[in-house]
């Protein structure tokens, strides 16, 4: 009986904690706009996370892109260049200029969310 009570208490704690995580725990002022949403769609369609990470989620063939648009060695223009032309490890997906802008808008949003907009 004690075991069942303990199990129920743990399940209750899990339910409460999940609700808290979904709301207060991840409350964030930064929401995606139209271009970033379009960029995210392209990101998903091309399975970009299989090579690149965002916040630790993703593969290791390519670099982490969480802060690619602002970090010292890369930046938004560099990201656009790689997206347009590909590289030794990066396939050339023949993105249009609009596609490239959308993906960079998405990455910019990711970067902004990392720096200070989350509560």
């Amino acid at each position: 009986m004690k075991k069942i009570v303990l199990l129920l208490l743990l399940l209750l704690a899990y339910a409460v904690y999940s609700g808290w995580v979904y709301t207060v725990g991840v409350d964030c002022n930064s929401h995606m706009n139209g271009d970033a949403l379009a960029g995210r769609k392209l990101w998903h369609e091309h399975n970009c996370q299989t090579c690149h990470q965002l916040y630790g989620l993703g593969g290791y063939m390519g670099p982490d892109l969480t802060t690619v648009t602002t970090d010292k060695t890369r930046g938004a223009l560099y990201a656009k260049g790689i997206l347009k032309a590909g590289g030794k490890r990066m396939p050339n997906f023949h993105f249009t200029n609009k596609n490239t802008d959308d993906i960079v808008a998405y990455l910019q949003y990711i970067n902004d969310a990392k720096y200070g907009t989350a509560k």
């Binding site: 303990l6 979904y22 998903h44 399975n47 299989t50 060695t73 396939p91």
Partner: protein, 445 residues
């Protein structure tokens, strides 16, 4: 009718295990191809690029675990319950839907259709089918077992927990489809880590529960599933399943309490580590009944990887260390050590338990050779990933260009690919013995 159900249960279980081994062989083939693509990114770039090989490898590896554990449960449950399987037809529907899902997803990946979600790259509508056949599995399981939790051994608790939480976490992983979740990256990433982290805990419950039942049988020690310590560690494991996922999110700017809770819960794993250390020699002195020597070898040697992975897991859960290891191949080393060194060895051990009495001496020798090859190659595989991870971490801290970091990690990636070849050889040796034996396996009346 009951006898028919029992035969049906074993037959379906065998087919599930063969499906699982097929997934495993395909998974390691794609995994090996992906590892070679680290060294030669242009390899098969037009038709089977890394963009496809990695999701194929991961998806098939996960399905190896689920197909094999489903098969084992179908074979074992009627024996544990001392009752026939509730519905043989439901088991067949489960098998057909599972096999069809694998076929559809693998074909889709070959054709380049992805949802773009880490680990669950298949289209979201597939999840509806997956949850549906898990509900069928759950109903068949509970109706057959009719468990009375108050008196049930710990492995029944673990099976119940595994089935329940797989369904919950698979559904939770689809919350991203709602705008409330998908327009806020912090919420999206955190919930994704939460669902994925707990899902791993759910399949661990199913696998460890089965291994515990098998260990009880091969050592003839009926206290294994009932003693207080076993239940204490079950509740420790469940607490980790529910709350430990947060150590993946240290770099996500979510509420600090998520990280603090995860850190606190992660450190409870020290109790598990202490228990392994304290009971290590006694556990190895315990001998199996003679006809289960190979089963015992797989189950006991998996303990080495439990120890190694536990030490690594505890280390990378410490924020000061996680800062340097997260986003590097050190995380992959942990995942590979757990999936191959623990889950795969335990599952193969449980499959061998079913067939061992029917194995010839030569087949047993082949199994032993396969096991040794797997252990040695996995050790180098694991070390090379750690070394590549340290190189990557150091490169990131020193603001090196990614190409330079990759160049520095190349020698370790060569060891990674070479040991991967031997790992595949070991797995093929074992699978080549298990598949024909499980195909011919017959239930004793």
């Amino acid at each position: 009718m009951e006898r028919q159900n029992s035969v049906q249960s074993t037959k379906t279980g065998r087919l599930f295990i063969i499906l699982g081994f097929s997934c495993l062989l395909l998974s390691v083939t794609f995994g090996l191809t992906a590892s070679l693509q680290y060294l030669a990114p242009q390899l098969f770039v037009d038709h089977l690029s890394f963009q496809k090989t990695r999701p194929l490898h991961v998806f098939l590896a996960i399905n190896w675990l689920f197909a094999c554990i489903s098969g084992l449960v179908y074979i074992i449950i009627p024996r544990v319950a001392n009752r026939q399987l509730f519905s043989g037809k439901m088991a067949i529907i489960h098998l057909v839907l599972h096999a069809a899902t694998i076929t559809i997803v693998v074909t889709g990946f070959f054709l380049g259709h992805f949802s773009g979600r880490e680990y669950l790259e298949f289209p979201p509508w597939i999840v509806g089918i997956i949850i549906f056949y898990w509900l069928i599995f759950g109903v068949n399981f509970f109706k057959t077992l009719q468990p009375n939790l108050a008196t049930a051994p710990v492995y029944i608790w673990m099976w119940c927990t595994g089935i329940l939480f797989f369904i919950i976490t698979m559904a939770e992983a689809q919350l991203w489809m709602l705008p409330y979740f998908n327009t806020n990256i912090i919420r999206d990433v955190t919930v994704q880590w939460k669902a994925n982290g707990s899902m791993v805990g759910s399949w661990n419950m199913l696998i460890y529960g089965t291994a515990m039942y098998v260990m009880e049988q091969v050592t003839n020690d009926k206290t294994i599933g009932y003693n207080r310590k076993a239940f204490a560690f079950y509740f420790l494991g469940l607490t980790n399943l529910l709350f430990n996922w947060g150590h993946h999110t240290y770099i996500v700017p979510a509420h600090p309490a998520i990280k603090q809770i995860a850190y606190l819960i992660s450190m409870t794993e020290l109790l598990l580590l202490a228990n392994i250390m304290l009971t290590w020699t006694a556990a190895f002195r315990k001998r199996p009944v003679a006809e289960f020597e190979i089963t015992y070898s797989f189950l006991k040697t998996a303990d080495v990887w439990v120890l190694i992975n536990l030490i690594l897991a505890i280390a990378i859960s410490v924020p000061a260390i996680n800062k340097y290891t997260h986003g590097t191949q050190i995380t992959v080393a942990h995942a590979m050590g757990a999936t191959i060194g623990i889950n795969t060895l335990l599952l193969i051990g449980c499959v061998v338990f079913v067939i061992e009495k029917q194995l010839s001496t030569q087949a047993k020798k082949k199994m032993n050779l396969g096991l040794k090859t797997m252990h040695i190659s996995l050790f180098f595989f694991w070390l090379s990933l750690l070394a590549a991870g340290v190189t990557r971490s150091s490169g990131i801290r020193n603001n090196l260009y990614f190409a330079e970091i990759t160049e520095r990690a190349t020698p370790f990636l060569r060891v990674f690919s070479a040991s991967g070849i031997f790992l595949v050889v070991g797995i093929v040796l074992v699978a080549a013995t298990c598949i024909p034996a499980i195909w011919k396996f017959e239930i004793k009346a």
